[in-house]
């Protein structure tokens, strides 16, 4: 009931939820979002595997394709088309679905993200005991999301220009094509490092989650996790549950 959503930043703090924090689960990622994530993950992995060796042409890495180089090229382009299709679907999802619109709104950068980030640093260093009051998406997740949006746009655009280089060279001079190739490679390296160093650590490897988070599969987190890592969203969830006073319709 998004139309009844109370302000996320003001208003009284609700009393702590009385139920079992560990046994009540809330939806963090909808089915549509999980499917999009899996398609992204698979296509991204294929694109990296079939693309990365080209960045290191003078190493044995380039030999991994054996005599299958044309197959590599086909698979890479196929995965690129899948990624482009996913991006198009995501735009529609954000524009026309309730969950997509709502979650995209929560992704929007706010000034308080800066405050939350500073709070987070102090919390990590042990200067404050209260966890940072992150919403559904913390500042890192917001940056990551927009990095994926930007990165996908750059990779799809430059990728298609490389694929159809005959046409590209009818419009742009050779140096622009060279620049596109350059950008495609560095942007890929950037994306790969972000996933390996940042994303995998923060969603799977960090203490408390290790070895594997299941959120990307079942889309669920417990209320305790919500309360601990996304306090502001926890408060919002409580408010949404208590729009109708407890006991009136038997729920909660």
């Amino acid at each position: 009931m998004p139309e009844n959503r109370p302000s996320e930043t003001r208003g009284p703090q609700w009393e702590p939820y009385a139920g079992d924090l560990d046994r009540t689960v809330v939806v963090r990622l909808t089915l549509a979002e999980r499917v999009q994530h899996i398609v992204l993950m698979v296509s991204f992995t294929i694109l990296i595997v079939t693309g990365a060796p080209l960045l290191f042409p003078e190493t044995p890495l380039i030999q991994v394709f054996g005599g299958m180089f044309p197959v590599r090229t086909f698979v890479h382009r196929f995965a690129g088309v899948v990624l482009a299709g996913l991006a198009a679907f995501h735009v529609l999802y954000v524009l026309f679905s309730d969950e997509g619109r709502r979650d995209f709104g929560r992704m929007a950068p706010r000034l308080r993200d800066v405050k939350d980030f500073v709070h987070y640093l102090r919390y990590q260093m042990g200067k404050v005991d209260e966890p940072p009051p992150f919403g559904k998406f913390n500042p890192f997740e917001k940056i990551e999301y927009f990095a994926v949006v930007w990165g996908s746009a750059v990779m799809v655009a430059t990728g298609f220009m490389m694929w159809f280089f005959e046409a590209t060279l009818r419009v742009f001079p050779k140096w622009v094509y060279d620049l596109i190739v350059l950008i495609h490679g560095y942007e890929a390296l950037l994306a790969f490092l972000s996933i390996i160093l940042w994303h995998l650590y923060n969603v799977h490897l960090k203490p408390g989650v290790f070895p594997l988070s299941k959120v990307w599969i079942n889309g669920q987190i417990t209320l305790r996790e919500l309360k601990e890592h996304h306090p502001r969203e926890y408060q919002n969830w409580l408010r949404r549950q208590r729009i109708q006073p407890p006991g009136e319709d038997g729920e909660i």
Binding site: I62, M125, Y177, L193
Partner: protein, 388 residues
């Protein structure tokens, strides 16, 4: 001196001439008697015979041989490396056109191999090369001769002997008189491969060679010598996947590039390109050096007739990429350095990405370290609860 028949007999030497062998030889068929070649024999039994003087009858052959490496006293070996009989045999000599002849065209290599494949024998003359014949037999020329029975395939003496007189005037390759010497190798190969040599002479390599240049490649520098293979053979030095290595043997050399004002970094700029990557990865249809620059009549891009001259570049690209935009000519094809081969803007983009990538690595490392600090130092007892 153990030159008695008794001593030879004790050593197991063959004492008697097989009448059938002699009868079927060219000399036997012509009714020669023993003493025509062995005039020192006057009675029986006789002493060891004196060397036969073939040149008494075959005077032109003797003259040819005397000027050759085989017929003159070798500076290291101290003897004459080969006599008539070493190649032609003795009592069983046949006409060269006779398949039974030791120098019959299709089996001549065996006569040469008798000495040239024997390491001990060749060592006496300071020669370490004993692989020439087996290498030749594996080459396109050797297989044409042996496997296909092609009598037009070149045999040893076709390349190493003088045209016309053939085998007798073989010289070492270092000798300017050798048909395989750098001064003559083009015309020697051209005796059969005339079209290629004509094209070669028009290209920059051929033009420079005619000027006496000692750096430019001749046929054998790209195609190898005894080992020459067809371009369809993966072992060929000019097989698509091996062409870059063959060209780079010279064009990667800084001294060569500096001497002739040639661009450097051909290796990096090609292997880093899609063409190079695809070729190294086994896609043989990817463009190699030859695809764009040509082969025998290769010319510099400054030559208006060159396939990579500004006027022809688009058509050259279009051979594989029909409909490629004409702006492909606006910029360098070989890109090794972003700064110098693309432009400063691209260099700026590259620096931007360097900073961004370094920043991401440092930021991620710092955040991970901070998180570990919290879980190990600030709050070591807390185990945390799932989810990010």
């Amino acid at each position: 001196m153990a030159s008695s028949l008794a001593a030879d007999s004790a050593a197991g030497a063959r004492l008697f001439v097989d009448p059938a062998v002699f009868r079927n030889s060219i000399h036997g068929q012509m009714g020669f008697t023993c003493t025509m070649c062995h005039p020192s024999i006057s009675d029986y039994p006789h002493e060891r015979v004196t060397p036969v003087d073939c040149g008494a009858c075959h005077e032109p052959a003797r003259n040819e041989l005397q000027g050759s490496v085989h017929g003159s006293v070798h500076p290291i070996g101290g003897t004459v490396p080969a006599t008539c009989a070493d190649c032609h045999g003795s009592h069983g000599i046949r006409r060269p056109a006779d398949p039974e002849s030791a120098v019959y065209r299709l089996t001549q290599f065996q006569a040469c191999a008798g000495c040239h494949s024997d390491p001990e024998h060749m060592a006496r003359f300071g020669q370490g090369i004993v692989e020439a014949v087996p290498t030749y037999l594996e080459s396109v020329h050797g297989r044409a001769l042996v496997d296909k029975g092609l009598s037009v395939a070149p045999v040893c003496t076709d390349c190493h002997g003088q045209p016309g007189t053939g085998a007798h005037e073989v010289q070492i390759v270092a000798s300017p008189a050798s048909p395989m010497n750098r001064a003559h190798v083009i015309e020697t190969c051209g005796r059969c491969h005339e079209g290629m040599v004509t094209a070669y002479r028009q290209g920059i390599h051929g033009q420079k060679l005619a000027e006496g240049n000692t750096d430019v490649p001749t046929c054998v520098d790209c195609h190898t010598e005894h080992a020459v293979q067809p371009i369809t053979s993966p072992g060929s030095s000019v097989y698509p996947s091996r062409i870059p290595g063959t060209c780079l043997a010279c064009h990667e050399r800084e001294d060569v590039n500096a001497r002739y004002g040639l661009p450097s970094a051909r290796r990096e700029s090609y292997l880093g390109s899609f063409h190079g990557i695809a070729l190294v990865s086994g896609q043989l249809t990817a463009a190699n050096c030859e695809s764009c620059h040509g082969a025998h009549d290769i010319r510099p891009s400054s030559d208006s007739t060159s396939s990579v001259s500004p006027a022809h570049l688009l058509a050259t690209c279009g051979r594989c990429h029909p409909g490629i935009g004409q702006r492909v000519t606006e910029g360098k094809i070989h890109v090794a350095s972003v700064r110098e081969d693309i432009n400063l803007f691209a260099y700026g983009v590259q620096l931007f990405y360097y900073l961004l990538i370094a920043g991401i690595i440092l930021f991620a490392a710092a955040m991970i370290a901070l998180d570990q600090y919290r879980h190990r130092v600030v709050d070591p007892r807390r185990t945390g609860h799932g989810h990010a």
